[in-house]
Assembly symmetry: C2
Amino acid sequence: MVERKKKQVSEARAGAEERREAVPAGRRERNKQEKLARIVEAAKELFGTKGFAETTTQEIAEKADIGTGTLFLYAKSKEDLLVMVFKDEMIATSQEAFKTLPAGSSLINQLMHVFDMMIVYHARDIDLAKALIREITVPPEKSSRHDDLMALMPVIYGGIADLIIAGQKAGKLRLDIDPLLVAESLFAIYYIGLVGWLSGIVTKTQFIKRLRPRLELAIEGIVAH
Amino acid sequence: MVERKKKQVSEARAGAEERREAVPAGRRERNKQEKLARIVEAAKELFGTKGFAETTTQEIAEKADIGTGTLFLYAKSKEDLLVMVFKDEMIATSQEAFKTLPAGSSLINQLMHVFDMMIVYHARDIDLAKALIREITVPPEKSSRHDDLMALMPVIYGGIADLIIAGQKAGKLRLDIDPLLVAESLFAIYYIGLVGWLSGIVTKTQFIKRLRPRLELAIEGIVAH
DNA sequence: TCTCAATTATGACTACACTCAGATTATAGA
DNA sequence: TCTATAATCTGAGTGTAGTCATAATTGAGA
């Protein structure tokens, strides 16, 4: 039973196995792909217009023209669906951020560029961002989106680590540091600020305004010389 | 109606208003305090033995010997109840951590002492810690525990900021930095690690092992000299 | 002591995420 | 083409968080 579900989910995901382009194996597989696409589209539409909490799984199933039970063959939970729907956008946003870096700029400016773009993305729909960050930060047991998050984080961490490596090569940063370790710390500073903003503890303006000096201090250090 | 609930909740909370010590106003107020105490005790017991998700609000109400609806006059939601039950312990743990600092030790050792104690606390019940961190990090709308969190954070941020101020006075740290701003960044590094541990991305050992160099780099900076 | 308005308590009820036994559909082999 | 098996779908059913109209309790003032 578990085996069966596992098979479905993994196959349903972007048809990773039978990838023969224009001819997606058989009608069965094609139907599944179409259904998955309809579900994602319906969920995205409804989450965007009504909000996450206000959207019922019934509505999503109806809009996707499937039975209520069928929905849960494609997503383990409503929260799962949320991540499923928006992870691609988030990955794309991150990749775009690193592609449009201001050339030859300082590390702090490059970091601010990346984080700014992420902030702009989340600002499009704060309630949705809040729900999304909630699921991503501490995924509940019911979530199977661990894999999806494992696809997002390397993009971000790797991108920041690359910036640090570039800084090392330019002779501006210490060579005796682990770029990935530092990347995670810098991201942590951004992330906690993001959470504070989405939780309403600080405004977006305050968040952005304080982000830069925080990152600067993390780069320059706080020890007296 | 909204007004009514607000009143109830705020009065129920530790009897902040009518504080005449041994004589808690009237029977009404006393009953409310007793009920609140029974609820918290019942919830703590059940969350600890059965786990958060596996405990039903019915069970808590039964154990506290109140009606199912009454429970929601004292806590806005099940998640609310979780924070309500454990916030005091968390505040106490934080205060204890700062009280037992290794005297005359370096900033990094003092930070590790504080964070170690918090980690030990969360390690007592990882599932519970996970649920708790989930609620604290991005509180859902249904939560009214904003105030409670506003009581916890100053203890932590203030405590760390004091360590930084001490370092400044000892001439070891830069004077041109905002201690609170730095405190939040250092805590962010710990917090993201904590989340990674509780989400099963890294083990507790890995988390602790990597925490120290991260904090060291944040203190010393990563720029080449 | 006896109202009576205000506060607090209650559990039947509702809404909704999620399950599961049985129905339906696709595919491979005869 | 027909059949058998596996894969997929379905919606009535289930469990539980949270609501709300009504009941019970309290205390101030008569």
